[in-house]
Symmetry: D2
Subunit: 118 residues, 4 copies
């Protein structure tokens, strides 16, 4: 693996994974957004009846199941980004800068309101 | 930024982002799974009425909006993984190996059935 | 069953169902919104790799599975509405009137744009 | 409105609403499942940073916004069920009977485990 980019490494592995299975025909952005959503719902299902506190104190077995869901989410996210020619890392860094402007520290300190509710 | 890990770099930036806003109190795994879901829905909304073909031929403006949604998804995914002490990259690589066993190339070639439907 | 309201009939059955299982403690609006989402994801999963045409031509077996998901969605929707003291039917009728104003027939004829994109 | 069925009444209104806008072409089961999901995410967004207690004590203004989301969910649910020829009410009643068997009162009393975790 090249040190320079984990996300490109995953992207390339996923390209090959789909290619040898002839799955590109299914991997439209529309379908991949649905598949990504389904994985996030599988993650969320683990938390639906838990209190906030319980969601922070999971058994080792639950943790492993949840880690696998997080992995699936990353894989679909990298895949759909590839299909849309979006470079995830620079886009995420630039989005963090936008978010910092939308949520100035002093103004939002300790508050979970949405930026348009201030 | 260390070349060795983009995901750790993002993780550390997000830790600081939350800390200076006193947002850790809101960032339980349960809440973050919900926030992640909401971002994926915002992504999916762009595709809901499009044909598969249209979803592959977006305007530059739509592309930028969609790239921003993908970025938000990555940011929440890195954040919830941090809160759960999950190392995303090795977990994703090991999940890809499990997926390869679940979906052997010859058996699934050109088919989108679920692994338990073969 | 009273003819006057199917939705009240379901609401009352669900109240009893939760009560005899001592489940009210879990049925906060927050948790129920998550459970509702998980059911909708299970519905959507059936369609994720299908073409639009395939999604209109399902096997009898698939249809039955999907009907069960639709039922679960209605049950959680009625339950969360009850917990929030929302009367679903009049609210839905009044929302349809708002939607009619947002999407005037002539203006939106044959177009799937969002109301703020006209 | 016929007293005998609120859900049929809504179904018929929604059929007409789509017809006069020439929207049937967009209303495939696949697309409608996505639209339904997006509405549920809009509902869930209201709750994502709230504690369970806060989610039970909403302002009048928030309540109204949430009621509108619940209405949209019902409308899309009735619409997709119509497109799939599923009769929501009897299906929901029969699903409640299945759920009662899956979750016997004594066994699940006060517990939120999934049926396959007992």
């Amino acid at each position: 693996m090249s040190n320079s980019s984990e996300l490109h490494f995953l992207r390339d592995k996923l390209r090959l994974f789909a290619k040898v299975r002839n799955w590109d025909q299914f991997h439209t952005p529309k379908n991949l957004s649905m598949a990504l959503m389904v994985e996030v719902a599988e993650l969320m299902e683990h938390f639906q009846w838990l209190t906030a506190l319980e969601s922070e104190n999971l058994t080792v077995e639950k943790k492993q199941e949840i880690a696998d869901e997080l992995a699936d989410i990353l894989l679909y996210l990298v895949r759909i980004s590839d299909k849309l020619n979006v470079e995830l890392l620079p886009t995420a860094l630039s989005k963090m800068e936008k978010n910092a402007l939308k949520y100035p520290e002093q103004q939002v300190f300790g508050s979970a309101k949405k930026y348009n509710e201030y």
